[in-house]
């Protein structure tokens, strides 16, 4: 597709902007499907994802170890920028990936940790146990995932952590309205609320 000759671009100039249009360069990859066409690419992809799910547990273990390692680096060298960035990315990756891997509560705990890193005015002054509780929770959820009663406990744990973290963040940001607004804004992901 990318090697095909591109259609001409037409530019319409207005007083303070230009509108640039071109015939749809990707139109040729679209085709009409009739009712007899039973192909379902989404179902095919979901099945492929299910085939891959046997690897998710080991992937989550790797992600949780990365998070622990990032915090260990901070304990050793302090909250310098590089270490904070890595801690944030490790938590942020878990926030984004954990639900796909079947660990939504680990994702919720990681989200809460991301909010602390992003919105605490001074990370050196955050009670250390706030970090350790979040990291321990992620590890516990990942490692105890196979226990029958763990799903409810994991959900309660991540909700409690989020509550404690939010209380702390709202208190320390009481004079920082832009952070307060961000903290209180709803998520765009349905069902993402604590």
């Amino acid at each position: 597709m990318a090697k095909q000759k591109a259609p001409a671009v037409e530019v319409t100039a207005y007083a303070n902007h230009h509108v640039i249009t071109q015939p749809n360069p990707l139109k040729k990859v679209l085709r009409h499907a009739d009712d007899k066409d039973l192909d379902d690419p989404v179902a095919r992809a979901e099945a492929a994802l299910a085939d891959l799910s046997g690897e998710f547990k080991s992937w989550m273990v790797v992600e949780a170890e990365r998070l622990s390692k990032a915090y260990a680096m901070i304990l050793e060298d302090g909250f310098h920028q590089e270490a904070c960035d890595e801690l944030f990315r490790a938590a942020h990756d878990i926030k984004g990936d954990a639900a796909t891997f079947g660990y939504p509560s680990a994702g919720a705990a990681a989200d809460s940790l991301c909010r602390i890193i992003e919105h605490a005015p001074d990370l050196d002054r955050v009670p250390p146990e706030l970090f350790t509780h979040h990291i321990n929770a992620v590890n516990a959820i990942v490692h105890d995932h196979t226990k029958l009663d763990s799903v409810t406990v994991a959900r309660q744990l991540s909700r409690k952590l989020r509550k404690v973290a939010d209380e702390y963040l709202i208190h320390v940001n009481r004079d920082r309205p832009e952070h307060l607004e961000a903290l209180l804004a709803p998520s765009i992901v349905p069902g993402d609320q604590p």
């Binding site: 000759k5 591109a6 530019v11 230009h18 509108v19 640039i20 249009t21 992809a45 994802l49 990936d97």
Partner: protein
Amino acid sequence: MYRIDFNKLRFLVCDDNPHMRRILRTLLHSFGAREVYEAEDGATALEMYTHYVPDIVITDWAMPIFDGLELAQMIRQPEAKGNPYAPIIMLTGHSEKRRVTVARDAGVTEFLAKPISAKGLYQRILNVVANPRPFIKTKTYFGPDRRRNTNTAYIGPERRVGGEAEIVQQPSLLDKARSAV
């Protein structure tokens, strides 16, 4: 009903997390895509973007050194060597509305918040293939039209002005980009 011939599309996936790249590769191949190029950081992705001229870019936001937002800004350079018009789908763990606005203002075409789903990804791809938006160039912005709805009554601070249009034909930037490869 429309279907996409994925085997005719070329994708560039940029994510620093190898597990997410594997998930994306699996989904795209299952849809029928054959050409999926992968980069683990924004700088490599930009190099691959110029070299492979992908039809669609799927990028993470948070990455070390050169993130997905910067990648989108680098691609959306009207005078750049590469194709500045390719659809960019931002797939990210960020789930706040203000992030959507920031991504949109960087020229991102579609925003997809994680957790990823086959349906969500397919719908975003279908949207950029079937419903491309015109591009807008202002002093401070170059990218897909940020208005999804036409509201002629809008009188806010960022309203567009100038009723009389002047048509300016320009050589295709896509041709220019692709002939350079």
